[in-house]
């Protein structure tokens, strides 16, 4: 009986907890970028997904080059070491986009909705550029050790009939996300530049009056966003696989995360990411085997016991988004209302 319970828990850990932590971290990093741009530049950046894709693409190209030069790092994926290049090029992209596109609309004090449409234009442009460079297909760039913990090893270790597997990409995602988020919070809380960004986001007029340079705040915001974007994009590609189209459809869960958490609130973005990730997994998981362990034998369900098929997981973000906007528009951590 006790083993049955443990088996059921391992099953949930393997199929919900571990993937949820990974996917939640990826969404959280993405949502942090959305929230940063929203607080400082005051618009919803629809080009976010394609920017993630761009960052991942550059990292992949660099990874391939490094692999072709025989530069690999044993158990660690090469992509991890190609990341700095991806980040630098993406910083170049966001700063160029700001210079060529967004700055003009900021100067003429365009309303947020105009900037949103402008960012959609950039989204289409970047989407085209990415397909032009790397093509629309699935790209593999993972190398190194596949697993931190293999299901078979776990079974022999514990003697349980259910296995728990942790992929190295999952471990890397969570570790990098924790490091990045800790750094970001430290930066925003303790550094002069970080504080000036919060001040600018909180009260623009008073920030100007205090001598805070808005163009510098905007520049630092794009740099941080580029780091977040490249990290989120690469980690997602590494964990699942890189396909340009998936980043467009990631836009919805990422926006949902930012809004559920409370747009403008960095803590909220992280929380929101996990809320969306776990909701998707809990609702699309097939509970048949879990119930098989927990229920008496004759009550074992014959169906899959799945609330929704995985095809609907995008729709789920949408439903959560709508519910939050109706019930608590400021989100969990009390951000701004859209």
């Amino acid at each position: 009986m006790m083993t049955d319970l443990i088996n059921a828990l391992v099953l949930i850990a393997n199929f919900i907890l571990v993937p949820g932590l990974t996917y939640g971290s990826q969404l959280g990093l993405g949502a942090l970028g959305i929230t940063m741009i929203y607080s400082v530049l005051r618009f919803s950046n629809f080009a976010h997904g394609e920017m993630m894709s761009f960052g991942a693409m550059v990292t992949i190209l660099m990874t391939w080059w490094m692999q072709s030069q025989g530069l690999t790092f044993g158990p660690l994926p090469t992509a991890l070491f190609a990341l700095p290049v991806g980040i630098i090029v993406t910083i170049g992209l966001t700063l160029t986009a700001d210079r060529l596109v967004f700055r003009y609309y900021r100067e003429i004090k365009a309303p947020p909705v105009t900037l949103l449409i402008v960012s959609m234009g950039l989204m289409f442009f970047l989407g085209g550029l990415i397909r032009f460079i790397i093509g629309p297909n699935d790209q593999k760039f993972f190398d190194g050790e596949r697993f931190i913990l293999k299901a078979r090893d776990f079974k022999t270790m514990t003697g349980l009939s259910e296995g728990l597997a942790i992929k190295s990409t999952q471990g890397i995602t969570v570790v990098l996300a924790v490091l990045m988020v800790s750094f970001l919070f430290w930066f925003l809380t303790y550094t002069r530049t970080g504080k000036s960004m919060r001040a600018y986001s909180n009260n623009e007029d008073l920030a100007l009056l205090s001598g805070i340079n808005p163009e510098r705040v905007v520049m630092v915001t794009w740099i941080i966003t580029a780091v977040l974007i490249t990290l989120a994009g690469t980690l997602y590609g590494l964990d699942k696989s890189y396909k340009p189209f998936t980043y467009l459809s990631l836009l919805l869960p990422i926006f949902a995360s930012a809004i559920v958490g409370g747009i403008g609130s960095p803590v909220g973005a992280i929380l929101g990411g996990f809320v969306i990730a776990f909701s998707e997994l809990f609702i699309t998981f097939a509970y048949k085997r879990v119930l098989g362990y927990l229920l008496p034998e004759h009550l074992e369900p014959s169906g899959l016991m799945q609330l929704l098929t995985t095809d609907y997981k995008i729709a789920l973000s949408f439903v959560i988004l709508v519910l939050v906007l109706i019930i608590k528009p400021t989100g969990i951590a009390g951000g701004k209302t859209l």
Partner: protein, 234 residues
């Protein structure tokens, strides 16, 4: 000639002028108060002095220098401090961070100035880690004034510092403002509570329709039957 003076200022926000040739000046260590009925251009006059409004004629001089071409931020660097009437604190930041942001343009060590602000407003020291948005109205105004003092201005401009605070807190704030003036800073403020403000004013300006109607010491204005009748409710 006053330390800061706006001479014969004419200007407005497009359309009809709000300021019609008024002159406002203040000296170091002195409190000057602008009073007048609603729509007289009190706040507008102050914004013009700070460079937030383009004047069509007239001039603004500080320490004898024409500062008309300077933007508000540049005037802050020159030694002007401005406390807006609303949204004058960073609500989502702690009291201490508000003061730090006030000192943003300073690259030197400003802990002495912060200590001075804390001495002036002891309650802020007690609540230094609390979010400014969680404070009471009077305490928020103290944060706002403290933030402006962080640049060690030679001139402090206050746009209705006592708006929306209780009479007791108002008296307290006025006492603090007198203390600030005693340190040699020039203080210019716009006030709705005309009687109380004129009591502490070295110089009072009664504006009507963007023009100087009466200019005198605060005491003289309070004693003037015409001013009392028309602007102070008898």
């Amino acid at each position: 000639m006053s330390f800061l003076i706006g001479k014969d200022m004419v200007g407005g926000y497009g359309g009809a002028n709000i300021l019609n040739g008024c002159t406002i000046g203040v000296d170091k260590g002195e409190i000057a108060v602008i009073v007048g009925p609603n729509g007289a251009g009190k706040s507008t006059a102050m914004k013009a002095l700070f460079g937030m409004l383009a004047l069509s004629s007239g001039e603004v001089l500080m320490d004898g220098q024409n500062i008309m071409h300077l933007k508000p931020q540049e005037r802050v660097k020159l030694g002007m401090g401005f406390v807006p009437q609303t949204a004058n604190i960073f609500t989502e930041m702690s009291v201490e961070e508000n003061l730090e942001m006030g000192a943003f343009i300073r690259r030197d060590d400003f802990s002495d100035t912060m200590d001075q602000v804390f001495t002036l407003f002891p309650i802020l020291k007690e609540k230094r880690r609390q979010l400014a948005g969680e404070l009471s109205g009077g305490q928020r105004q103290q944060v706002a004034v403290g933030r402006a003092l962080m640049t060690q201005p030679q001139l402090l401009m206050l746009d209705e510092p006592t708006a929306g605070v209780s009479p007791i807190v108002m008296d307290e704030l006025f006492d603090r403002i007198i203390e600030i003036a005693r340190t040699g800073i020039a203080i210019l403020m716009v006030e709705q509570n005309a009687r109380q403000a004129l009591e502490i004013a070295d110089k009072g300006y009664v504006l009507v329709q963007g023009e100087n109607r009466f200019t005198d010491t605060g005491k003289a204005l309070l004693a003037d039957p015409e001013v009392r009748q028309a602007f102070l409710g008898g």
